[in-house]
């Protein structure tokens, strides 16, 4: 489970996350949405111990992110939006490093790496440096590294970025199964169709504050909108997209 208690973070006076409180029980997939710069990644970075809150705190799997950051980190898996990894290592070396950081048994680790690489069809590339990999291949390794130690809470920031349709479908199924196993999944994304499909609950954040929270049906009732796209647009007070698109295409025309 994840519990945010008045979590706040500001940068040079600009409040990125403003007094956010939230409870996500075990086994739930919570979609965390918001426009660019709304505070999604900042929230995730605080929950994963990469940033310290300016005020407030949070419990992850029962451990306080400020008081017991290492205990929190032992129990979480994180797929960052940046997809950062050591590209000069091979997938095997990278996953071995990650497993050892969690003190995994070498035999179990080897077996798991073996399975992951086979499932993701990366087995034949296991000794190749990741620098030569496509974005999708790297993303598969990032996801494997987030799950190899069997975390109970998983933070996913745009996890399907760069993946082909089949792998994306596979991963959506995997996330569903992991939630059924009792894992809590905190899912940040801009792909609303995916969020609508796989998340049990949707939280929308704008300017650092929660502006909507509920299941997709609750949000539909609340906003009188049928699609998540329309709900999102309404609660984040988006401008008229058709108008902007029209103006933009006009500018494109004048440039040629």
């Amino acid at each position: 489970m994840i519990e945010l208690k008045n979590l706040t973070r500001s940068f040079n006076g600009l409040v990125a996350v403003d007094n956010v409180s939230l409870f996500i029980p075990s086994g739930q997939i919570c979609g965390y949405l918001g426009p660019n710069g709304a505070g999604k990644t900042t929230t995730v970075k605080m929950l994963t111990g990469m940033l310290k809150p300016t005020s407030g705190t949070a419990l992850v799997d029962g451990f306080d992110i400020l008081q017991q950051p290492l205990e929190v980190k032992k129990r979480i898996g994180y797929v960052p939006e940046s997809g950062a990894l050591y590209e000069n290592l091979t997938p095997l070396e990278y996953l071995q490093l990650v497993g050892r950081l969690y003190h995994m048994d070498e035999k179990v680790l080897e077996e798991k790496i073996d399975e992951f690489l086979r499932l993701f069809k990366l087995w034949e590339h296991k000794n190749q440096r990741m620098k030569t990999f496509s974005k999708g291949m790297k993303q598969k390794i990032v996801i494997s590294a987030a799950l190899v130690h069997n975390p109970s809470v998983i933070f996913l920031d745009e996890p399907l970025s760069g993946l082909d349709a089949n792998t994306a479908l596979l991963l959506k199924n995997i996330f569903r199964r992991l939630a059924e196993q009792g894992k809590t999944i905190f899912y940040c994304s801009h792909i609303l169709e995916v969020v609508e499909k796989i998340c049990d609950r949707i939280v929308i954040i704008d300017h650092g504050k929660i502006v909507a929270d509920g299941t997709i049906n609750q949000l539909r009732l609340l906003t009188s909108q049928s699609s998540l796209e329309a709900i999102f647009s309404k609660v984040t007070h988006s401008e008229d997209m058709a108008e902007i698109a029209e103006a933009f295409s006009k500018v494109v025309g004048t440039m040629s």
């Binding site: 040079n12 990469m50 205990e71 980190k73 050591y86 000069n88 070396e93 950081l101």
Partner: protein, 550 residues
């Protein structure tokens, strides 16, 4: 690291071993950056180059001084050089080991304690410090056996003390880093690093010029006792030299105080590092990944007028839009990209240091005057050293991956971008330098003579820079910077030093026969144009066969 030591330092042994192993592996893995045939840069080679460079430096210094110095003053001198080089190496080449935002991104969410991570990074850094320190001190340790009042045991004692001194220097730099990162954001921190590098380069070149001047004033020999003064307490290399003196049985109050200061400084520094700094290290790294919010500054009054004038002037100088794009790109990056600034700006220290020293010595003389020597030409001709920096570094950038743009833009000749870049360097960096040098020279000689010297040297610079461009293989800002390139340039400078001497000799001959001056200037300009035309054609041809592979 043995398990007991791990427990003592409160670090996780398995994590420590795994991370250190990977850190060293990554350090020595060459990066294939692009699909250029045969362009794989080797980090191992760069590091080896550094070692050889340090061995040569230490051999020259120790052999040229050991006869004039006693054991204490010799140890002081060599330790000073070693500690300065070490601080410079950590600041310029190895700071990314300790302060690497990518590490925070990858390892931030992993259950690695701040202490474990800190000691991994310190051990990684200390590995280089030990190897580089050995290359700087091994020869002096052996040569030192034959200094006055020395003995065979000097080699072992000196080598051990030098290791401690070098490690302390590196630890001190890290302490400063952690302090700076805590005080400011990463971008500002990189700015500070750039200034520190410039200061270090100044120190190095002033020291290089200053040392022979000091040696000239030495009558016979210098002893440790003759150097005794209150300033000793402010110079760390003197503390460690005093430890050696104490081991050699020189137990005066002064020696004991200085040696004690050295021991206390080392112990306190490492205790503080393993305590407070190691605990806050992870926070420091996480701060590096924190987004920085900068205020948009409004343009000052009159800026728009100035901008429009600059724009009009630019249209005249760089009329081609593709060239103009290259010009704008490079001039903006040279102003804004701190990593690039950090690598290029220190090169200016060398000619500036030369000018300052030559003014100080009163050696700027009118080259047309009877009996004038070579001296006036030295500081100006050495500006070609800056050309080398621009040549090697302009193709590098932290944003090198954006170079895909070169492959997709529909331009008839890609070399136009390169011309724009060259023009940006010359107009914004070279021309102002020579204008300033000309003004400075006019205070030392008639204005027409100062102008002649300045124009000749400016053309010499153009010809040299154009010559270097013949070997250019990359477009501006299109490849990643590899660690070790700074030392490579220093070494190259030492190797090509005789070429400078030949250049100065030729310049002297031309100024002796002033009728040749116009032809010489014309010849240099002609050569520049020819070299640049050839290099442009070569670059465009090479580029047409290259593929963009990341």
């Amino acid at each position: 690291m043995p398990n007991k030591l791990c427990q003592l330092l409160q670090i996780d042994c398995l994590q420590y071993r795994s991370l250190l192993q990977i850190s060293l592996k990554l350090d020595f893995r060459s990066e294939r950056l692009r699909g250029y045939r045969g362009s794989e840069k080797s980090k191992k080679r760069a590091f080896l180059f550094t070692i050889v460079f340090y061995l040569i430096i230490s051999l020259v210094i120790s052999l040229s001084t050991f006869q004039h110095l006693d054991v204490g003053s010799y140890a002081f001198l060599i330790l000073s050089v070693s500690m300065l080089f070490m601080a410079m190496a950590v600041v310029i080449e190895f700071n990314d080991i300790v302060v690497n935002p990518q590490d925070a991104e990858i390892l931030g969410p992993r259950p690695v304690s701040s202490r474990t991570y800190f000691w991994v990074k310190m051990t990684n850094l200390f590995f280089y410090v030990i190897v580089m320190g050995a290359s700087l001190n091994l020869i002096p340790a052996i040569v030192g056996i034959w200094t006055q009042n020395s003995g065979y045991h000097f080699a072992a004692i000196y080598f051990l003390v030098s290791c401690i001194a070098n490690l302390t220097t590196a630890a001190f730099v890290i302490l400063l880093y952690s302090f700076l990162v805590r005080m400011m954001n990463f971008e500002r921190f990189k700015d500070i690093l750039a200034y520190v590098q410039i200061v270090f380069t100044f120190l190095l070149f002033f020291g290089y010029q200053f040392l022979p001047r000091v040696m000239q004033h030495l009558n016979g020999s210098v002893t440790y006792t003759s150097l005794q003064a209150p300033w000793n307490y402010f110079v760390p290399s003197m503390w460690y030299a005093s430890i050696i003196m104490a081991v050699f049985g020189n137990i005066s109050t002064h020696v004991v105080c200085l040696a004690g200061l050295g021991v206390v400084f080392t112990v306190v520094l490492f205790a503080h590092s393993s305590g407070k700094i190691s605990l806050e290290y992870a926070d420091m790294l996480n701060k590096l990944t924190t987004a920085t919010v900068s205020q948009v500054e409004s343009l000052p009054r009159g800026a728009s007028l100035k901008n429009s004038l600059v724009k009009r002037l630019l249209n005249k100088i760089v009329p081609d839009p593709v060239e103009c794009a290259g010009y704008e790109l490079v001039s903006k990056y040279l102003h804004r990209d701190r990593s690039l600034k950090m690598r290029i700006y220190p090169s200016f220290a060398f000619p500036f240091a030369m000018i300052a020293l030559f003014i100080y010595d009163g050696r700027f003389t009118d080259p047309f005057a009877p009996g004038a020597g070579f001296d006036t030409f030295f500081p100006l001709i050495f500006f070609v050293y800056v050309a080398m920096f621009f040549h090697f570094l302009l193709p590098t950038s932290d944003d090198w991956q954006a170079a895909w743009l070169y492959w997709v833009v529909p331009v008839d000749s890609i070399s136009k971008i390169y011309w724009g870049a060259i023009k940006a360097v010359i107009l914004q960096y070279v021309l102002p330098y020579f204008l300033a040098a000309g003004i400075l020279l006019s205070t030392q000689m008639p204005v027409t003579h100062a102008a002649a010297v300045t124009v000749f040297n400016f053309c010499f610079f153009l010809a040299y820079y154009a010559f270097l461009s013949l070997f250019n293989t990359d477009l501006p800002l299109s490849k990643k910077y590899e660690r070790g390139q700074s030392n490579f340039r220093f070494t190259l400078m030492v190797i090509i030093f005789p070429l400078f001497v030949i250049g100065i000799g030729l310049e002297y001959l031309i100024f002796r026969h002033s009728s040749l001056l116009v032809f010489a200037i014309g010849g240099l300009l002609f050569l520049s144009i020819i070299f640049w035309r050839i290099s442009g054609v070569r670059l465009a041809k090479r580029f047409s066969t290259q593929e963009y592979l990341t």
